[in-house]
Structures are given as C-alpha cells and as structure tokens.
Subunit: 332 residues, 2 copies
DNA sequence: TTGAAAGCGATACCAT
DNA sequence: ATGGTATCGCTTTCAA
C-alpha cells in the first residue's frame, strides 16, 4: 500500500507534524531535518493524500461544471475555457453532463458535496429551485447562459444587439417574411434572440414580420425536418435559426432539394461553430471559451472570499456574414 | 456551517454509528429510530460529507480523464462517452487538459491522487514513464489512442485497414503521387495511418508513391500553410491528411486559390468531424464516443477488481467517401 | 526547531 | 437493534 505521512515520519525519525511542514514547505524546518524527511519521502515514494489534506483543510480544491451535453461544439468550448483557468488557479475540475439523466438534480447536489463551488451552464440542466437551494446552503455558484438571479453570479453572451444587427442585415437584403426556428421557452438565450429580432422588425421602416417555428431540439435533424415541412408550401425569405446546428441541418436539406441559396431563401445560425465556416453560414459568433474562463474567475473570487457582492458579466458577440445570406460582402 | 453526523446524532438522540447506518440504509435499524434520524437529518439539512466518507472507505468514487485539448471535436466526444458511462456507474469525472501546460506530469500525478483510476488519451499528454510509474503504484489505468503497453489496458480505433481502404480508393481514382500530411512521430495513430498508406501502395499493382509532409500541429492553420507551400510548385494527386482539421484547412485554402476539386487535387481527412460533412470531405469515421465509453467500462472492471488481466480493445473505423475525392459515388 | 495530540467527518468492528 | 470507539491521512494548535 501507499506510504503515509506516518511511514515517512518513522523512517526519517521525526514526527508527522514535521513531515507535514516539510511537505508544504510552509514553516521553518532545520535544513538537515528537512533533507532527511525529503529523502525518506522520496525513498517511500510518498505522495500526500488529497483526501486527508482536504479533510483537514475542509476544502476540496476542486470546482464543478454542469452542462447539458458535450456533443455540440458550444459546451465543449465553454468547458475548455473553464478548465484552463481553473487549472491555472490550482483547482481540479469535475464535470457533469445532464443529458439523458433523470436524476440530474440529485447528481448536481452530490457534485456540490465534492466541490468548493460550481458553475451551471444553460437552463436546461437543473431546476431553478435546485440552484436556489445550493445558493442558500452557501455553495459558491456561477450561472452561465442562464437568466441572471440577483444574488447569484452570472456570465452571459450578448444576444439582443446581435440579433438586431442580424435582422437588419436580412432586411437590408430585402427579406420581409422571416421564420424564427427554435423554441424560445427552451432557453433564455433563445428567447432573447427572438426578442431582438422582433424589436428590429418593429423599429424598421419597412413592413416585415416573423413567424415562430417551434422545434423539439436544436440539432441538425430538427433543422432538416423543418425544411421538409416548408418544401411543400411557400418558403419564407429567411430562416433565422436559434443556433448553428439547426441552420446547418436546414442548409443540408435545402441543398439536397436543389433550393438555390441565398437567392431563393436565406438562412442564419448562432454560435459560429467550426462547421459554420465550411457551410458558409451567416451567424453570430459567441466567445464560448471566454464564457467558461470568466465563470472560472468569478467562481474563484467567491470561493476565496475576495468578493461577496454578486456580479453579472455580459460578453460581446459579433455578426458574421457569409454566403448563406449574401454572396456580396463576405466576412471571413 | 454544515451539519455533521454528530449534530444529527445529538439531535436524534442516537449514536453517530446509527446515523451512519441510516444514511446508507445498509443495516437493520428500527423503523422508529430510523424515522427519528431522518427527521433530524432533514431538519439540519444534513448531507454526508464525501470527504469523510471517502477517507473512511479509502476510495474516491471518482475517475479521471487526461486529454491534450477539448477544442477539436475529437476529444470532446471521447470525454462525453466516458462521462456518460462513468456517471452510469456512479462515479464522478475529473478532467485534465494538458494543452499549454508545462507541469502536465505533476498535474496527472496529482489527479491520480484524487481518483480511483484514470484514462489517458493520446500520446501527446504525458510521458510514458509517468504512465509506467502510475501503473507501478497500482493506479488503475486505461490508455486511449496510445500505443498499447502489455500490462496496461488500452482502447484504440482501427487505423491500418481503413488507411489501406482509403489509399486504394485514391489509387482507383487514378491518383499516383500522394502526400501524407502530418507528423507520424506525434502520435502512434498517425504513424499507423501512414503505415497503412504505405502498405497499400506496396501491395498495389500500379506504381505510386507517397511523400511525407511534416507539420507543427494537426490544425486548420497548418493545413492552409501546407497548401501555400504547394501552390508555388506542382500539386500532387492527393493530400492524405492525418486528421480532418488539417484537411479542412487545406480545402479552404485550395478553394480560395481557385484550385478545382477533386479534379485537380484530392484531399482526405480522418475522424469525420461534423464540419467534414459540410465541407464534403472524404475521411475515415472513428467511433469517438465509443472510445470513451469503452475506456470507462474497462476502468470500472479494474477498479472493482472484476478483472485483473489486461485487455486491449480495437474499435472499427469506416471509410466515408465524399466530394473532396470524387463526385461520383458519395457516401452520406 | 520540533513533538504530542486534538480535530476533520465519516465507516466499521466489537460489544451489548 | 444500537452504542462505543478505533481508524482513515492529514493539518494545526500548543508545549517544550
């Protein structure tokens, strides 16, 4: 079995307290003693047990992150940014995907027990009351891509301004009949995007309207299905999708059906995932990695007690125009 | 502060041992006593500390996974498959990305201290001797996309057969001068793919050759740079890339340069990431999620002691033909 | 500078 | 069925 602090102490002929001091090079230990301890530790291949250490220090040195899924590019990037910063701050990262899990709430609570704090990404992961209970218990918490709760830190990407810019772009191209694809009730992000679109239409000096097309999931398959529905009847001027995956699914199906883009119909997405570039999809770029990184920093402030008042960060987004809306002015 | 087992015991008027029994509903406790304990626990919002529990049980109920990066689609999918199965088996998942980290070896060792076992993905994460030391210390270990070590479990995707199929496909199309893009020394997967290509050429009944073009990273930028080099001189018949990202970078640059595909030059990738579909990239599909899932299952067998002899899994891959090599027969 | 001993929060064995 | 207590591996006073 592994060597413990006692084994080292015995071999070095000192007390466990001294070994502990040496291992954390914290206190003043006589160099000679120190060497003896280090020699013994090296000899026994001693590695301090995190468990014992954490129990004594009453902290985990670990952060959690909860997200719905890792299959799309979006959450993977968020997690990546989070892990990078957390690691920099000397904290381990626990992940929890709620996809296809019926006991998500319990799993999150269990996770909170092994972390000093955690980040919850997206509203489709855990119920609000679970978040509220965690917050009430004093768990350090940061919400990402979730509607801000006054007392809880949050990080979100800007939706409204970019949705308006996107809509104006479509209006400028002559589009009048828009269809928004995606259920605004599934996520506040989607709701905000739709809201931005509607506002832009209201403010426009031309008559235009937007119809809402609800879908089950924000994935390629649903996008393709929506196209299937519309191929029978008249196509709108533009499909404004809640995310890139939906839009990509639509593009594939439209091309397969021989529909000419962007002359016949225009399609836009949201996120700017890698595939969007290759598909020539006009979309809105989100700083996904930065969302995660910012959340990690906020969480660290909470855990370390550097800050007590809640903060709400809003990161900028950017319209990216490609050939799915216009052949004219392309943005790389 | 949080309630401990002692607080509950005091409030319920029982010993901590009884509370412990109730919390794990393990032993037989008189219903009446049980109710009293549960009432006290609920009242105090008692949640057993993982730390204490793990220390006593001398296990973590957590698995780790080490990978180079999460930005590409490949590792994200592997991690996803891993997390799903690990969660099913009641284990938490710790992640560690070695990208841009100089103390990767230490980080891995530290991670091993808080896990019952871990998975190491790709050879570009940690040194072989670190893996060997971990194995020697008795840490349960599974290697993914790494050259198998006799005594350590491993999960890999088939490279050789698909590389040969890919090469034959190119030869059938009339390609004779091939360029393999990617450094075989960076990963055994890449080396195996190159090996498969070379073998197929040797076995072919036509004269053909492959040149090796080394690159810094397997990403889009490097792919684009390679194209830049070749635009000056003569293009080969086909670029066989070590992964999709390289190939996608090449496609973008080639199209920008107005080079006609696939008539002028053919390009192939490896992985079949989402963007490959939209770019019409001929590639080899890997069961990425299944790699992670299989690793999680193997690891669980090791940790639970169900199995002691090492196993080496080889998962099948599949050639996917698209328009980057031929306009004729497309595979969806 | 070093050691002894009291936690930290649970589990599990041995009594009763 | 329940309680007492040693134990897990470490940190952290308090003394010496």
């Amino acid at each position: 079995m592994r060597a413990t602090i006692r084994d080292v102490a015995r071999q070095a002929g000192v007390s466990i307290a001294t070994v502990s001091r040496v291992m954390r090079d914290s206190e003043t230990v006589r160099p000679e003693t120190r060497d003896r301890v280090l020699a013994a530790a090296g000899d026994l291949e001693f590695v301090p047990s995190h468990l014992g250490r954490q129990l004594a220090e009453r902290r985990h040195a670990a952060n959690g992150i909860v997200f719905p899924d890792l299959s799309g590019p979006y959450y993977a990037e968020v997690v990546l940014g989070y892990e990078a910063v957390a690691a920099e701050l000397g904290r381990s990262v626990l992940i929890l995907s709620t996809r296809g899990r019926d006991d998500a709430d319990d799993a999150v609570r269990a996770m909170a027990e092994r972390c000093d704090g955690l980040v919850v990404v997206s509203g489709r992961t855990v119920d609000d009351d679970v978040v509220a209970r965690l917050a009430a218990r004093g768990t350090s918490l940061v919400l990402v891509a979730r509607p801000p709760v006054d007392t809880v830190d949050s990080v979100n990407a800007e939706n409204d301004a970019s949705a308006r810019a996107l809509t104006r772009h479509l209006l400028d191209l002559g589009a009048r009949r828009l269809v928004f694809v995606g259920d605004p009730s599934t996520s506040p992000d989607v709701a905000e995007r739709l809201h931005g679109v509607q506002e832009a239409l209201t403010e426009a000096d031309v008559a235009a309207d937007v119809e809402i097309r609800h879908v089950q999931n924000l994935d390629e398959q649903c996008g393709a299905e929506v196209v299937g529905d519309y191929l029978g009847r008249a196509l709108p001027d533009a499909f404004v999708c809640a995310n890139d995956e939906l839009a990509l699914g639509m593009l594939g199906r439209l091309r397969a059906a021989g529909v000419d883009l962007p002359s016949r119909v225009r399609v836009t997405g949201w996120d700017d995932v890698m595939a969007a570039r290759y598909a020539g999809l006009t979309t809105v770029r989100q700083p996904m990695r930065e969302l995660g990184a910012t959340a990690a920093r906020l969480l660290d402030e909470l855990i370390s007690g550097t800050r007590t008042h809640p903060r709400h960060e809003l990161l900028p987004t950017q319209l990216v125009v490609r050939t799915s809306t216009t052949l004219g002015k392309e943005t790389p």
